[in-house]
């Protein structure tokens, strides 16, 4: 088993299909952590954060192995957990950073709070609901003593009207929504990470992440990775080879100083 990006050994946590199934159900990394935490089958107040960090990192590693495009916040969480792990394992240091124990406690609190809110949501929606379990008068009579004004307008109507108005007005303004493209920086980082695992010549295409994210993202990822190979070759970190025009581009880690 190879060492993954985060330096922990990963056992397969799930088959790719299962993994995909589970991933689609998440509402972000905290949600994923909570579900992983439940695997420990203990009260959340007694959960092992160290073990949880390992579970999460293994999960992320597995997702990347089956070439799932992970959103940035999942990777941020992974990096943070790796850091937390190091702080938990290394004896307390004299610095301004919060201690590993404090960080772990904060995470545990956040998980408990999220769990509590999920429970509350369930309890709330298990209540008899108006129009579904409990009913109001089916044929109300036109006697309305509550309102002085005859018009029924809610705050929602008012805000919606203003929102619609602004939307029409904004029609002429170019508002560029963030487009999800693969950045050069990400590609450089990704390639640098992956190069360690590719001692021999490999095609550039084999370094690309999966096709998830749509054709635009795939194309931009190809462009970004190509630019990244040039960047890294310039920095002397990798070697490039192409057997002819439009032929596949091969790359491997630079071996010139032999510190492999």
């Amino acid at each position: 088993m190879t060492e993954d990006l985060f330096g922990s050994r990963s056992e397969p946590v799930a088959a790719p299909d299962q993994l995909m199934l589970v991933l689609n159900g998440f509402e972000g990394p905290l949600d994923l952590l909570l579900i992983l935490g439940r695997e420990q089958k203990v009260d959340l107040t007694r959960i092992s954060i160290l073990q949880l960090a390992d579970q999460y990192l293994a999960f992320v590693a597995e997702a990347r192995k089956v070439r799932l495009e992970l959103a940035a916040d999942y990777l941020v969480m992974a990096a943070w957990l790796a850091y937390l792990k190091s702080r938990l394992l290394i004896p307390a240091q004299e610095d301004d950073e919060p201690s590993g124990e404090d960080m772990a406690a904060a995470l545990a609190f956040q998980l408990q709070r999220l769990e509590a809110m999920k429970g509350a949501a369930q309890a709330l929606f298990a209540r008899p609901r108006l129009g579904q379990d409990v009913f109001s008068r089916g044929a109300p009579e036109d006697i309305d003593i509550r309102r002085k004004s005859v018009y029924e307008v809610t705050l929602y109507d008012l805000l919606r009207a203003y929102g619609d108005h602004r939307k029409r007005q904004d029609g002429g303004v170019l508002r560029i929504t963030p487009v999800r493209l693969y950045s050069l920086e990400d590609a450089v980082r990704r390639l640098s990470d992956l190069l360690g695992h590719m001692p021999d010549w490999a095609t550039l295409a084999s370094f690309l992440p999966g096709e998830a994210g749509g054709p635009l993202l795939t194309r931009s990822s190809m462009a970004a990775h190509f630019a990244a190979t040039l960047e890294l070759a310039k920095a002397g970190q990798l070697e490039l080879r192409q057997d002819g025009a439009f032929a596949p581009l091969y790359l491997r880690r630079a071996t010139r100083d032999g510190d492999d």
């Binding site: 089916g138 939307k167 560029i176």
Partner: protein, 205 residues
């Protein structure tokens, strides 16, 4: 013996309660046949006993055409109707005008028209004023000294706002999803808000 009586009485009360709830929640009168499928063949006797129970009260069980329905007691009609008002829907133009006055006040009629891009019909401001939602503010110290419009305390009251400062800002509206500008660069495909997009459903936009 006593136990049996109690059980029978309980079963009867259960059916009576269901009958009561069904008649209450229905938008239209329910006919005996339909009720019998839910309650059983004794529905006729139960309807009679329910009618007797409600006879002296403010709500009566009445037979209308082929069906049964609860109605407020007929003798109360004159008292009930005292303040009867038919609620109407406010026109889109009026709601929008009200929203613009709320957000841009003090604002002149000409400014409202400039903002909306259409002429304000005569009745719109009248209706809003009639309902006590807006009132004339100070005159603008510009040529012609046009009248400005502002919202009233009743406006805040009606919409449950404590002050005008509590109106959501444009950014708040956008964040809440009430003002979603369409992505302009549609050709570029999904913006991928989802954390993880599987290849299967990634072409949703």
């Amino acid at each position: 013996m006593i136990k049996e009586v109690t059980n029978a009485e309980e079963a009867r009360m259960g059916k009576l309660r269901l009958l009561e709830a069904l008649l209450f929640a229905s938008a239209d009168p329910l006919d005996e046949e339909t009720l019998a499928t839910r309650i059983g063949p004794e529905v006729g006797a139960l309807l009679d006993s329910l009618r007797a129970h409600y006879a002296p009260r403010g709500i009566n069980l009445v037979r209308t055409g082929a069906g049964w329905a609860f109605r407020t007691a007929a003798d109360l009609a004159p008292i009930l109707r005292q303040e009867e008002e038919v609620s109407k829907k406010l026109s889109r133009a009026a709601i929008e005008t009200l929203a613009i006055i709320a957000y841009h006040q003090p604002v002149t009629r000409a400014e409202i028209e400039a903002i909306r891009g259409v002429v304000t019909s005569k009745g719109t401001l009248d209706i809003l004023m009639e309902h006590g939602w807006i009132r004339p503010g100070r005159r603008r110290e510009t040529p012609g000294r046009p009248l400005t419009w502002i919202t009233t305390d009743h406006f805040l009251d009606h919409f449950g706002l404590e002050s005008l400062r509590d109106l959501p800002s444009v950014e708040d509206l956008r964040a809440a999803g009430l003002l979603d500008s369409r992505p302009v660069l549609l050709g570029l495909g999904g913006t991928g808000e989802d954390a993880l997009v599987s290849p299967a459903d990634s072409d949703e936009d």
